[in-house]
Amino acid sequence: MLDDFFIRALLAGIGIALITGPIGCFVIWRRLSFFAGTLAHSALLGVTMALVFELNIALSVFLISAVIAIFLLQLQTKTNLPNDALLGLLAHSSLAIGLVIIGFLTTIRFDVMGLLFGDILAVSQSDLLLIWGGGIFILIILKIIWKPLFASTINYDLAKAEGMNPDRYNAIFTILMAAIIAISIKIVGLLLITGMLIIPAALARNISNNPVQMSLLSTIGGLLSILIGLFSSLKFNTASGPSIITAALLLFLISLIKIKKFSELKK
């Protein structure tokens, strides 16, 4: 009925959606969409570094993302440029450096498209292990730091004054984001991971009125996007990553319609 590779793809996608659901909410709440995009772009540099130094790809992507995040903090203290300009600078220059290095790697065959858009149908057993192992780890950490992280997200001063140590939790959250990108780059690709982080959370915002509900709905939205995206990519023979994001966008549009109905009912 269903091939092994497809089952693995489904399992991988479900794993990704379970993590990006709640983390994506924090990305939106903290206005980090562009930051997530920057980390995702820098992942290409991470992959090329892995090829040059023969490192594990996920590990290398994680390390490069972390370096970029630290570099950003340094830049913020050294210039008066607005954040979005710094992020754009980092995103595109790290992407460019990655592509330049690829040019030197003439001996290695390298699937850039796969890296950009992901290849969920090529997921191996060990990828699955990484996604689910890493994913469960990320979710446990998120569960532990949820309260102080949420308080820091709402208001830095308040969290700090009442003993929540917001700096620590902001840093942990940045590390979690780097980790997600590291484990999901192979599945949805670096151009689409931002989409998986933001679109399900955005559609959840349209139909929720409290933070826990939003993170649950965001997870459900992500799961539906994965299922619809994967099955339609099988049926219409379209690229899997983009199909997933397109499905997510459709769900987002549907969530907008629902809002209109609700507000009409209220009238």
């Binding site: 709402i154 208001n155 830095y156 001063d157 308040l158 969290a159 004054a161 009125n209 933070p211």
Partner: protein, 248 residues
């Protein structure tokens, strides 16, 4: 007996600068349990800054801050919550502390906004939000409360009731309070110790002492000195109202 009170916050000669410009400097005071210490001063005199220093919000400060409790409630002067974040009053109440439904209800009831419990924070008016902020700060039964202009935007009647509530909390819960207020009437009637700031401490002491200080008169004008006589009249009135609230 006075000396037996536990010191909750001790600030010694603190100051903070931003871009080489001093915001406030040389401030020292103590907050003891059951005591209200009030910071007054014109706009930009460093009141909020001093409160933030005391709360450890700034990373680099001059001087020393010692806090002898970790049960702190804070009502900031300005709080810009991202209104795109879906959050109800009840979610906001438990922001930094786990509370039972009862505790939430009691705190909201004290500030008169129990009916807003399940409302979205973004739908509240300025005054309603201010009441929720106060409710949140007192709900965790803090030992130290830092209130930065806590009744801004609250209607006149509510303002008096909230100040009475603050006084009651300080008396009954033995809570130490650091208050920032523009309302000189209230300050002078309920405060144990006043610091008059203008980038540094202009004068400080009991309300009686401060209103007679020439620097206070310079800063607030002669009319402000008459506050105390007004207060002494008002004080009797406050007590009788206090009684009616107790009966509730």
């Amino acid at each position: 007996m006075e000396n037996k009170k536990k010191v909750l916050l001790k600030v010694e000669n603190v100051g903070v600068s931003m871009n080489d410009k001093s915001l406030v400097k040389g401030v020292s005071f103590e907050v003891k349990e059951g005591e209200i210490v009030t910071l007054i001063g014109p706009n930009g005199s460093g009141k909020s800054t001093t409160a933030k220093i005391a709360l450890g919000i700034y990373k680099k400060i001059d001087g020393k801050v010692k806090t002898y409790t970790n049960k702190i409630g804070y009502v900031p002067q300005k709080i810009s919550i991202d209104w795109t974040l879906p959050i109800r009053v009840s979610d906001f109440m438990t922001l930094t502390e786990e509370l039972t439904q009862d505790q939430i209800n009691i705190a909201l009831n004290l500030t008169g906004v129990e009916h807003l419990k399940n409302k979205s924070l973004s739908n509240l008016s300025g005054g309603e939000f201010q009441r929720v902020l106060i409710a949140r700060a007192i709900s965790k039964q803090p030992e130290l409360l830092v209130l930065d202009e806590p009744v801004q935007g609250v209607d006149f009647k509510g303002e008096i009731a909230l100040y009475e509530l603050i006084k009651k909390i300080s008396d009954k819960m033995k809570c130490g309070i650091l208050l920032i207020s523009h309302d000189l009437h209230v300050v002078m009637s309920a405060t144990d110790y006043v610091l008059c700031l203008n980038g540094h401490v202009c004068c400080s002491g009991t309300p009686h002492h401060v209103v007679q200080d020439s620097k206070y008169k310079e800063l607030f004008g002669d009319r402000a000195s008459n506050i105390l006589s007004l207060y002494e009249h008002k004080h009797d009135h406050t007590h009788s109202q206090d009684g009616t609230i107790d009966q509730k």
